[in-house]
Every structure is written in C-alpha cells, then in structure tokens.
C-alpha cells in the first residue's frame, strides 16, 4: 500500500521518520503512526496467526477493540498494534496464537 500524499481535505502530521524492525527487517515509519498503520503502509497486512487454525490475522477495527492486531513488540506479546505508536528501533514480530507472557525485569 502507500501513504496518501495529496488529500483534498486533510494534511497529515506524521511526526518524525524513524526506522523500526518487523521480523528483523528494517521498516520506515513515522512517530505519529501506529505500528499497524506503518506496517500497512509498508504492504504488510498479516500481523499474526490464530491460535488453533493458524489463520492469518490482520487488524479489523483499528481502534483497540477487536484484538485482531495483537503482535509481539520488544518481546512482549498481545500488544494492540493499532493503538501502540511507532518508536525508533522497536522490534515487532507476528504473534502466533496466544504466546506466553515473559517475566519482565523487576516483576515479582
């Protein structure tokens, strides 16, 4: 897909252009874009696979309600990538099913 350059009504404040990683591969995104939006702009629609039938999953609602866009971000599963914004250098990968929650440093 692509970003809209010329819109009759809207101007987009995309923020700063940064690089983050999808499945280890560098992707250009902007700090005012959600991870799901930046991936879509890069032509990546499959964000994960379902738990039992391993069906491909993309986003559906884009406003944090449907849980269809859950991905693993910096090792953390179940991140709603339609709500989480792009940050420079983050590592994003497709989630396979539920995955397990890693104990974070400092957790009891």
């Amino acid at each position: 897909m692509k970003r809209i350059e010329d819109h009759p009504v809207l101007d987009f404040d995309r923020g700063e252009k940064v690089v983050f990683y999808f499945e280890g591969r560098p992707i250009e995104g902007y700090t005012n874009e959600t991870i799901a939006a930046a991936l879509h702009a890069a032509g990546i629609k499959v964000l994960g696979y379902s738990a039992r039938k391993h069906r491909p999953r993309g986003f559906f609602c884009a406003i944090g309600k449907c849980s269809s866009c859950l991905m693993v971000v910096d090792g953390r599963p179940n991140v709603r990538t339609c709500m989480e914004f792009v940050r420079p250098g983050i590592h994003v990968r497709r989630q396979h099913g539920l995955e397990s929650i890693v104990q974070e440093e400092g957790d009891e």
């Binding site: 559906f60 884009a62 709500m83």
Partner: protein, 377 residues
Amino acid sequence: MSERYELAVVGGGPAGLSAALMASKFGVKTVLVDENRKLGGQLVKQTHKFFGSYEHMAGVRGIAIGRKLSEEVMNDPNITVMLSTTAIGYYEDGTLALHQREPEEKLIDIKPQTVIFATGARENMLAFPGNDLPGVYGAGAVQTLMNVYGVLPGERVLMIGSGNIGLIVTYQLLQAGSRVEAIVEILPRIGGYIVHASKVRRYGVPILTRHTIIEAIGDEKVEGAVIAQVDERFRPIPGTERELDVDVICLAVGLAPIINLTWQAGVEIAYIPELGGHVPWHDEDMRTNVPNVFVAGDLAGIEEATTAMIEGELAALSAVEFLGKASPSELAAKREDAHSRLEDLRLTVFSEKVKAGIEKLKNWRADLTERAGKTPS
C-alpha cells in the same frame, strides 16, 4: 490512589467532551480519561460536513467539531485530561482502574464520586467464509487508516452496506485515491441519505441493492470477493454469483455499544436491537440503576455525534444533581433546553428506529416482569 475527583468521564468523544464541559459549568472537579493520544473520539476521522441539524454545528466537518470541543476541554481548569489511558475496570468499592501507556506505562486507581461512561461503540462483523482474512476491515478502521494516519487502505474496495457510514466512507475512499468497485446492500433500497448516495453514484460507484457478499477469496489476505443477488428472504440466488477483483472488503454493517465497564459497574443491561443490541439501562436524563453512574453517546444506543453531545450534557446534569451542585430549577431549565434540542434532532425518518428503541427501553423492566411470569410455549 491520587486526589478525589467528583466526576470521572470515561471516553473523550463527542458525548464525553460535552459532558465534561457541562459539568465544569457547575464547578465539578472532573477527570476525563481517553485511551487515544488525542481527544475527539471518532470525530477525529469525520471529514464530512455535518447536516443542518445541530444549530451551531451545521455544515461543519466532524474533525473541526472535535478539535473545538477538545480545545475547550484542554483549557478548562476544572477538567484534568488523562490521555493514552484505558479504563480497565470499575469495582464494587467505586475504584476505577486505569492503564496509562504514555508517557510511561503505569496502573492508576482513582475513586471518583460519580462516573459518566461514554465508551462509544465497536463495529459489527458479518458472517461469511473468509471474513477473518486480513483485508476485511470495519468501515471505521478504513477511516482511521486513511483519515487519521494518511495510509491508503487498499487499491480496490468492496463496500458492504449502504447506510450513511457505507456511503460516506465510500466517498472518502475516492477522495483518498482508492477505487470502490461496488457497494452491496442486502435490502431492496439504499439505507442512507439520498444526497450521499447520489454523490458516490456520480463518481461511478454502483450501488447494488438486493445483493450480499458470499465469500472473501484469498489465502493470506483478501484477493477478491464473490457477491450475489438475493431473493425476498435474503437467500442468494444461484447463478447470480459474480467475482470482484478487490483487495479490501469494508464492512459498514452497524455498530454495537461497548458495555463492559457499565456491566461491571452493576448497570442492568437490556437487549434492544434498535439501539444496537445490548445497552445499559438508562432513563431520559441518562441515569442508570446505579445512582452515581451515568451513560451517554453511542454506549447508550447507536446514534449520531450530534445527539451524543446532548446526551453528554444530560448525563452531566444528572451527575451535578447527584453531587448536589445545583438547584433543581437551574437544572430544570438546562434539561428542558437539552431535551428540546434532542427532540428536534430526532424528527427525521432516520430517527424512527432510535425512538422505537428508546420506547422499548422505557418499558423494558415492565416487559421483563411480564415475561418472567410466563412459561415458554
């Protein structure tokens, strides 16, 4: 546990924003919580102009209304705004649990004296093979992607549903540079305003009434769609199937209220299809059966941003009454004014359904009691 707020408003869309502003007029110390980075709710993606109903907002784009209300709220000394914060629970002792994601992640609990839930709605799904494929998007999602983030949802789109949302989003897709191959509508007539329908037709988008989607084609993502004509009983007519080369299937088939928090708060949930399905029980002044809990906007029944704003005012007035911040006569005048504006907005044929739903909700408790006395036959 921080300072004690008199009112927490959950949701910074049209209903929540106007609720906070109305409460502020009575000096209510309010916290407004929203899970996005910006206030405005779904107004942030409404590039179309509103119709001539709400006296101050006629002909104004939704985004402009959102921006104006947001600015007022941000500059209001009585209102504390918490952004990037999701309300994740409301407990028996009145604790509202919040999860803040930015600037740093933390869990916060507050104990507001009153709560107005204005949590909005989520999009409906439609059952067809392949409906879980990436590329099947809700109409609101398509709007978010193209109008908020400036990313084109796809090259060729099939729109399902010819209500106002389906028609408006079709037009917005054309503005953004996508092709819309067709709009399919299962009913024999177009659902939305004729002025919107004429506009997309002028751009050459066919509106196929008595049609539905049969399946989405594709392994990893949408690569096409099969549509067909339906008979009087909405069954597909064999032999009328047609394949469309599309990469996005956009569903504009209605919304459902997000009731989770009100349910947890102990608000009775009624099932009223005309209002979008399960809705929190409420009276005409937006009180629920829980004395310090109020509702407004799409959560209280799927309708429009204009009506949501007035419901927000009414919910705020009820919270003000609970808090004992105003005299009954002062409240009466404001309530009367709000109710008359609401009535005006609900004069169109499109409001018949909502009005029928509100009527059902009024009788819901009595109906339940009556039904409970009967054995199913």
